[in-house]
Amino acid sequence: MKIRMVRRDAASHLAMVGAPVLALVLTALCSLVLFAALGVDAGTALHALLLKPFLTWYSFSEVLLKMAPLLLIAQGIAIGFRANVFNIGAEGQFIIGAVCASAFPVYFPEGDFPVMLPAMILAGGLGGLAYAAIAAGLRTRFGASEILVTLMLSLIAIQILNYLLLGPWKDPRGFNFPQTVMFPANAQLPRLFEGVRPNISLFFALGASLLAYLLMERHFRGYQLRTAGLAPRAALYAGFSTSRMIWLSLCIGGLAAGIAGASEVAGPLAQLQRSVATGYGYAAIIVAYVGGLRPLGIIASSFLISVIYIGGDSATVSANLPIAAVEVFQGMLLVFYLMTFTLIRFRFEIEREAPA
């Protein structure tokens, strides 16, 4: 007996929804085994990881807080991924966005700048965009792989952050901690609800999702990007400019990541500090893929990954689960998603040997 893969005549819509769900179930099952092997009470861990975030308003609000940057970055880079432009250095663009936005409150610590928040968000977005544009320029001009360039730029961004925090931007009254001054009130994003931390950047992310949907599913430019990704030679044949696709993909990704970075320092952190680089840019890659690179799917997947983040935090306390388990969980989720994703385009047939 042999199993063979047969291509479907058209993508299966059932599998499109079912694949991520199945992937999540498989990931949960594998985690149970892994956690048990680590001597962690697997039941408690999974309960904390997947259910606890929903049990109190505070923890659920934290999910929404995490979701904002993940969703925003993922929508941006997913557009590029669909065009086969792999911006995997959103982390760096996020950091640069945070740095650029921080310049205003750092140089106007009393808040004596008229349009503080808009300036910060704009500077953050443009900073991230410019940082990603380096990769676009090097790719279109010289053919240098954007995968490696964006990644290297991320590693450099961390050094830029460190340099500023240990040097010129260090809070003089901060007991030598590598962080800037606390931002004035007018440099902080308005919160959505009393007493909990989610802020209006969640609307940035949802707005970006709507724009991404209109671009990718309804607009000709999005169609061109999709064509470039699915069949580059067909895009060339139709006359869609490859370099424009690369610029567009990277600039959108950088802009989104930059705004997310600005929102992070103007939001929960309220200052620039090292912990701004917590890997949202990398997690967003997983968010984007598990969401099937589609705007609506990414809303769901960003919520899911945020739940796992917050659940992971509580599991470290209640089930003594190492925080690295969250990363493992994400990695497994992507691996299983890629496996189940096959079901969308292929079905499996059992092939019997010809009777002797």
Binding site: L138, L148, A324, E327, G331, M332
Partner: protein, 291 residues
Amino acid sequence: MNALEFLLSGTLAAALPLLLAALGEMVVEKTGLLNLGLEGMMAIGAAIAFICVYHTGAHELGFLAAAAISAALAMVFAFLVVVIHANEVAAGLAIGVLGLGLSALFGKSYESLTITGLPELGLPILSQIPVIGPTLLTQDIVVWCAILGVVAIWYVLNRTKLGLIITAVGENAHAARSIGYPVARIRFAAVAFGGAMCGLAGAYASTVYTPLWADGMIAGRGWIALALVVFGTWQTGRVAFGALLFGVLSLGELTAQAIGLAIPSQVLSSVPYIVTILILVVISAQQQRRQ
């Protein structure tokens, strides 16, 4: 010890993780695949090797275990890409994340523990030569093995039928299949080899070069190794040369301090990454022009 002696004695060891990972990836790419998960495979190898050596004291066992676990992780990639035709970039990133996560998970309780590295061995007679004798020609056993390994890889790729088969599969998998080569199996083997090499690279980093485990200790070396394959234009000798160059660079920070240069450490830490970008640009532009 002056700066030159420091470079002479340290470069090979500093280059070794890059060298092993890049050569492994080169073989993978020669069969027509691209595995982006180097960073994760090196990390899991480093963690497992450290744990192994910490408990047994046997470096051989550490290297073996690292090669095995990284190869196993690489097989996940091979399954995704070769068997079910998943997106190569996504699959590479997936096992990269998984490897980094698992390394942090397993290595958690071993941070800040110490083990002993390996003694350095001078080459007989040659190590008596002044200046280079006690520096360049006195290295640990892994360095000597790796040099033999480089020669072996060059020989297999350029002088044997196996090398011919690898080239053929990479150039035209369809044709290779139709004249009877098991392309999927050959690619699986290449990916496993690439994974094992990453495991060895990680093991060297955590048990010999700096005998300790810390989360994030691979610090982008997996990605630099990827760039080295491009830099070396898929040729063993050039990849090895590139690795040595980066070995020098990564010692740059220490060297600069040694000769008293007043450059912020963040600038020096960025140098390998900046140089990687520059090299990528130069090599890609050359390839573009040649076409």
